[in-house]
Amino acid sequence: MKAAIVVFPGTNRERDMRIALKRVTGRDPLMLFHREELPKGLDLVVLAGGFSYGDYLRCGAMAAQSPIMKDIKDFATKGGHILGVCNGFQILIEAGLLPGGLLRNASLRFLSMDCHMRVERAGTAFTSRWQKGAVFRAPMAHGDGNYFADDATLDRLEGEDLVAFRYTDENGTVTEAANRNGSARNIAGILSPNLRICGLMPHPEDLVDPLMGGTDGLPMFESLADTFVSA
């Protein structure tokens, strides 16, 4: 798998992502500064978490206008795989690559805690190692993760089976208490119609090592490694 992690000014979870990708591929992903060009021949582009441009104005808004985003949109048009986690998800939304918006958490506080997610769409490059309905744990760490979209968009996402993950309790039940940031219909992550762009708020990359408290997040990276096994 040839993967690149894009670093914007203020990105800060690129190192976590490097660890997770290296764990499944055995080698370091490419680290790309946002002023660089996207090289040819990549299998996966990752927009990592953090506070690009300090989260000022709107989370992800300024990074979405960054020079490299033109290349990333071309990459998407040509069917490239893109993973956006946390701030990366926010950037994908601001760039128009995924629908909706991410509002301030309902509690109006930064939330740093583990959550549980249920896999709603298995069999994609990001989720093939899970069964549909599988529940896994992941840390979240964000101030603006409250997923919002109008009802028509939400209906379309659900109708086309593009909801990747939903916040649930540890038994996989959708509850209000499990939906800490207040997201519409408990949505934690979504997919593009071609299933090649995935954005989610929680951080599976921070739970890939028993030493750090578990390996619940590892299947996402194993799925990606399986998908690009030949590369």
């Binding site: 800060n12 979870r13 660890i19 989260d55 506080r109 740093s112 101030g143 921070d206």
Partner: protein
């Protein structure tokens, strides 16, 4: 100081005789006006006389500003230096002791840990969010200035009574500020401590600690050398932020401190993140000779310290300083405390390389001067010399006071049976785990990103010390902050000892080897003998513990004049401890495992003096605090660590605030698993056994109790089996019990209720 100095200077403060200005020498102030301003800036009359003698003339406004900040308590440590010298600062693993931006210790694999703790107390009271945020920013800069990538933040916080005026707002602002800054820069906030006491009602303490990792042979310092080498300014632009902040934080609070609000700086964690990446990128080259962050007293202290430590002179041209505001004067630029700025001296010809890196990270870069061999700091602005001061006497003639001290009278020892338990053991426990000082800190942790970087092995609450692994190594650091101010006020020497011992104990309880500490000395007005006596005695106690435990001091910070309307805070020598464990996988936590035997290490007399039980259940704050037997401390701790590293211990928690039963309850609440407890083998009353705060104790969960007890006996370590884990309740020998769920509910409810709603 009083109000006027905090305001922009009016024309009356300008040089009186403009006609005689020359480009060669600074223009002296009118002597009478200078003396008056000196007093307003906080210089004592004899200090001002000394300044006149050094210059041989009346200072210019800028020079007066330089003297007043360099000789402020904050920068000169004039009241504390004579005492701090007593602290041990050396060990074979110490690379850099106190005196630099941060301390440095070798941790193996050619790596070094770089760390320091620093206070931002007064700014956090005035504007809690930005005060706390810029405190975090400042301590981060102290660490990455030395060439280290910050890997962890911790915070030692002391708030007033939760229901005191403004306190809820202060707690909320401080927590948001620490989170807002740390989360954004991407450094995990992994630990710390919080206390509540009315003595902090008008003067909370915000002590921020940062730990970083560097290559041991790539440490950067402030001492600048090389005549002609360029002096470079990088980071954010300079505005009129915090002018005279350093002297403000050395002045006792008075009711008019509300008026001082405009001096508080705004933190920009985004700029700091860029500064970290740009500095570390430049540090990977050979371009830097010396580097210093612009913290308190900004350009003044960084310029003076870099040139002074290198035995050089420096000439700065302020016209080249990147400025955020129009019409800034030399005085304002030299004293500005705008955040996220650094000063560095580069090797000749490396300017373009450095500039390219800072431009890439969208930061300002400017050559603002060069090193000279004159031994003087010369400040030029708009063709005029604004200051010309010899550096050596600025340091060597700095005021140094051995202020009068008065010992705190010893308090009588409270016998274990002296105060009866007004309630049942179960009820006392339930109430204790819910008191502000012992309740769950989850409401706070849940706002801090403790995992960013993906290397956090033990999260907040998971172990006695936070454990963070080092990238691409097996090794991990163990970190903690500790102090028990109620012990220190009752007996400053024992309290100082206890603070160091507890930090050592908390690191030990994870299996890590404690290596060194940073200290953050928060005290009241040192001009009062009782306060100075607290300081001196605390240092004495700390020094004794540091020596006995091989736990030297490598960095620190002093914050004095923590008083409001003449009432001092509890003396608070906060200790930040750092240790290392060779393999992160060997580190253990405090959560109660299933089916393990519980072993108590250490002696239990049932010491109730100054205990939380006495204060929060019996309603009395009195008695001598528990003494620390340093020999027993060392012996017990070394034994515990060896057993952990031998793989014989499943979980370990030290006995601290609240005593033995609270310790066991905390282990149980961490996992939801209870225990059946043996009847206490003691002559003390039952409540003294369970809630006494005797020192040097640990509770171990083990699978081979006989083996551990035999080893303890052989090592001369007091040890006893006190129970066995399992079930969902703590069950006493006579069958009384309390469910872990009830304990958890009480423990978790307090902070959200105090702060009005869940996080």
């Amino acid at each position: 100081m009083t109000g006027p100095a905090a305001k922009p200077l009016d024309s009356a403060a300008r040089p009186v005789d403009m006609a005689h200005m020359t480009a060669a020498a600074p223009v002296s102030l009118d002597p009478a006006r200078a003396a008056q301003l000196a007093a307003e800036f906080g210089l004592k009359p004899d200090e001002y006389e000394r300044c006149l003698a050094i210059l041989g003339r009346t200072p210019s406004l800028t020079e007066l500003g330089v003297f007043s900040v360099m000789w402020s308590e904050h920068c000169s440590y004039k009241s504390s230096r004579v005492w701090l010298k007593e602290l041990p600062t050396k060990a074979p693993w110490v690379i850099q002791g106190p005196g630099e931006n941060a301390g440095v210790i070798a941790i193996g694999d050619g790596l070094a840990a770089v760390f320091k703790m620093e206070s931002h107390n007064h700014p956090s009271w005035i504007e809690p969010y930005n005060g706390a945020a810029t405190g975090v920013g400042g301590i981060l800069r102290d660490v990455f200035t030395m060439g280290a990538r910050p890997i962890a933040n911790l915070n030692a916080l002391r708030f007033g009574a939760p229901d005191a005026p403004r306190m809820k707002q202060v707690i909320d602002g401080v927590v948001r500020g620490i989170g807002g800054y740390g989360n954004c820069v991407g450094v995990p906030t992994v630990g710390g401590e919080v206390n509540f006491h009315p003595a902090y009602n008008g003067n909370p303490l915000v002590n921020a600690m940062t730990v970083g990792i560097a290559k041991a042979d790539r440490i950067f310092t402030a001492a600048a050398t090389g005549v002609g080498n360029p002096v470079v300014y990088v980071g954010s632009k300079t505005g009129r932020d915090g002018i005279h902040g350093a002297t403000m934080s050395s002045a006792e609070f008075s009711a008019d401190s509300e008026e001082k609000r405009p001096t508080v700086q705004i933190g920009d964690p985004f700029a700091e993140k860029l500064l970290i990446e740009a500095c570390l990128e430049l540090m990977a080259t050979d371009a830097i000779v010396a580097i210093q962050d612009m913290g308190a007293a900004g350009l003044t202290s960084s310029g003076v310290e870099m040139a002074g430590k290198g035995g050089m002179g420096v000439e700065l041209v302020l016209d080249n300083v990147p400025q955020r505001e129009e019409g800034m004067t030399a005085y304002e630029m030299m004293l500005s405390e705008s955040q996220e700025r650094m000063l560095m001296v580069l090797k000749p010809g490396r300017e373009a390389l450095a500039e390219a890196i800072f431009t890439k990270w969208e930061l300002d870069f400017a050559v603002i001067g060069h090193l000279t061999d004159t031994g003087r700091i010369v400040i030029r602005h708009k063709g005029q010399v604004e200051a010309d001061i010899p550096l050596a006497p600025l340091e060597s003639e700095a005021p140094l006071y051995r202020r009068p001290t008065e010992e705190t009278p010893k308090q009588p020892v409270l016998a274990p049976g002296a105060v009866a338990n007004p309630t049942t053991i179960e009820d006392a426990l339930l109430r204790l785990v819910a008191t502000p000082d012992l309740c769950s800190r989850r409401w706070i942790w849940d706002q801090y990103d403790s995992l960013v970087n993906g290397l956090t092995v033990k999260r907040p609450g998971g172990a006695d010390a936070a454990i963070v692994k080092i990238e691409d190594h097996d090794r991990a650091l163990a970190m903690t902050t500790d102090c028990t101010p109620r012990y220190v006020v009752a007996d400053p020497e024992e309290g100082g000892k206890q603070a160091v011992a507890e930090a050592w104990r908390n690191i030990t309880a994870t299996g890590a080897l404690p290596l060194a500490i940073t200290d953050n000395m928060n005290f009241g007005n040192p001009e009062k003998p009782r306060i100075m006596g607290q300081f001196a005695a605390s240092v004495r106690g700390m020094a004794a513990a540091c020596k006995a435990l091989d736990f030297p001091v490598v960095s620190g910070n002093v914050s004095l004049y923590n008083e409001t309307e003449g009432r001092a805070i509890l003396p608070t020598p906060a200790i930040g401890g750092v240790g290392v464990i060779d393999d992160a996988a060997d580190a253990i936590g405090l959560g109660m495992p299933h089916g393990a035997d519980l072993i108590l290490i250490g002696e239990t007399e049932g010491w109730l003096g100054q205990s939380l039980w006495l204060r929060d259940i019996a309603g009395r704050e009195e008695g001598a605090p528990p003494p620390v037997d340093l020999a027993a401390e060392r012996r017990n701790g070394d034994f515990v660590r060896a057993r952990i590293l031998a793989g014989e211990v499943l979980a370990c928690h030290d006995c601290a605030d609240g005593g033995l039963l609270v310790t066991i309850a905390e282990m149980a609440m961490a996992t939801g698993i209870g225990a059946t407890l043996a009847a206490p083998a003691t002559k003390a009353p039952e409540h003294a056994f369970w809630f006494g705060e005797d020192q040097g104790r640990y509770v171990l969960a083990v699978s081979d109790p006989a083996g551990i007890l035999a080893e303890a006996e052989a090592a001369g370590v007091p040890a006893a089996r006190i129970g066995r884990s399992g079930g969902g309740a703590l069950v006493m020998a006579d069958g009384r019990s309390i469910s872990v769920a009830a304990l958890r509910e009480a423990n978790e409810a307090t902070l959200p209720a105090l702060m009005g709603g869940k996080a």
